[in-house]
Subunit: 325 residues, 2 copies
């Protein structure tokens, strides 16, 4: 379309693959005869919970950091995430030998601060509002000349996240469908571009918590409809859908479905119990979509992106004292 901004191209994804090779992990694809029998389909779990930093975010952050020209890179990178992107950015910056400035709300949980500090990120604390976080980032950029790396509304980040699907389709070429969690849309948009380029007939479906369903509503409306007050146990999926991701999602994704928090917790528990792997609530969201009887999926070969495995092991959602789902 004349005048429209450039989107996520296959070329950007190929560059990302080469750029991050050896800097992030190639994650395994696990299967489970028990879960296959239960669902009546062939499930292939792409274990991004085993990725560096425990989440796919390592892919996008590493690509974005290593794509910077040297003159820009040496002044450092900034973000104001309190989640997996912050740790991934700190790690990528350390790999390149440049500073990472992370603005974090002062109520961030200890485990997430610790992850950023472990990778040498410099934390600036701020009040727990979006305005305070953005102000904090702006002040750091003004003071240091560092560049903002957005957690998902960024083509280099999206191209990096897309490499998970490229890898998955190399490992299991004959998938019929990929189920992918959606929050800000970085992973889903990358997955859609990669999968539909490699295999035009494949279906890509986004799965979103019902309590943070801006992507599902926006997908139906054809324009971004923000969530006013997202509430879900899947803390990685509370983000507002980004514009650049949405452009690809509209174009390529087949559907976006929603799941309840109760289904997310049930799915997470089944993955832990049966597969013996630790998946965070956001990562269990694609499997949650399969818990309801879905005769139309029977017999299909389905890839599920288990996006991450970072959570507080003191407060599991099924333990006494846990917040209600």
């Amino acid at each position: 379309m004349p005048g429209s901004p450039p989107g996520l191209s296959w070329n950007l994804i190929q560059q990302a693959r080469e750029r991050i090779a050896g800097k992030v992990g190639v994650t395994p694809v696990l299967t489970s005869a028990t879960l296959d029998a239960q669902v009546g389909a062939q499930l292939h779990f792409k274990c991004e919970n085993f990725q560096k930093c425990g989440a796919f975010k390592a892919r996008g952050a590493t690509n974005a950091v290593f794509a910077l020209p040297e003159s820009q890179a040496r002044r450092g990178v900034v973000t104001h995430s309190s989640g997996n992107h912050a740790a991934a950015l700190a790690r990528a910056a350390r790999l390149r030998g440049i500073p990472a400035y992370i603005v974090m709300p002062d109520n961030t949980v200890q485990a997430k601060r610790a992850a950023v500090l472990r990778y040498g990120g410099e934390i600036t604390y701020c009040e727990a509002t979006l305005a305070a976080r953005e102000d904090g980032a702006r002040a750091l950029i003004a003071a240091t000349g560092a560049i903002l790396i957005h957690p998902y509304d960024d083509l280099a980040v999206m191209a990096g996240q897309a490499t998970a699907a490229v890898e998955l389709l190399t490992q299991v070429p004959d998938l019929d469908l990929i189920l992918c969690p959606v929050g800000g849309g970085g992973l889903l948009s990358g997955t859609a571009v990669a999968a539909k380029t490699l295999k035009p007939a494949i279906r890509v479906i986004g799965v979103e918590p019902a309590g943070a369903d801006d992507a599902a509503r926006s997908f139906r409306a054809g324009r971004i409809l923000p969530s006013l007050k997202p509430e879900t146990i899947a803390d990685g999926l509370r983000s507002a859908l980004g514009e650049r991701p949405f452009a690809e999602i509209r174009r390529l994704v087949d559907d976006i479905t929603t799941v309840s928090d109760e289904a997310i917790v049930r799915a997470m528990r089944q993955l832990w119990e049966v597969m013996k792997i630790i998946v965070e609530p956001s990562g269990a969201v694609p499997y949650a979509a399969l818990l309801a009887d879905a005769p139309q999926l029977r017999g299909l070969r389905i890839g599920l992106i288990l996006s991450g495995g970072n959570l507080d092991l003191e407060r599991l959602p099924w333990s006494a004292g846990a917040p209600p789902p």
Copy 2:
């Protein structure tokens, strides 16, 4: 030695490999740059927590069940384990299409009963004493003609457990050392025979909870010294050392070391947090041996057998309300 009973031969292990191929899983070997850096060695984790039934026990039970002559097999198999062996035996019996009779103390936890029932095992409940369990098994054998499959004091079971080490050394041939948990000795004896046959220079060290240290004490004394009252969070390792396993362990194992319950819980938590895999306390025991500073292990290539991943997710040892380690 003239008159000594036959031991675990390499031939039995090779037969076990062929017999159970396709009936149990080939488990992956995982690595972690974070844990390698922490320990100062190259760690290779053999993930038997991903094995069928969630533990290496599937190997030995499957080999024992499929090694039976048809005339004996059709009358079924019996055991009086309340743990992973019971579920593994029930599964193997179902695969062969024969009955499995499991004697279980009436205080067995729900999850373990459920696992046996899922595989079609017939449970007979009894009082929670060893005498009642043995009486129950004897009565079933008399009534049905079924054969007892001991969880570890059995050459076919030991040969099956040995296949985990054969697989590990195929996946990572250049190991210097294998660390293996020891309870009744089935896994450790099999590991020692397999590893020393394939690679005579390799070291094999057993690791045991300090609160159930009969194998360590027996190893030093040169004869079986039973534990009177084993107390450890590693419920899979409370069993009394078996005679047939001990004969191989004495002959081939380089050392048996002990670890505290506190170290086991710390090890288990690190494996969960860093590797994102679910390992039960018994399975974390080999890694617990590496938590203390061990300069003599620095730079070595170490295989660790993560023996299983079955535990009650409601009561994690670091959660409020958990029993003290």
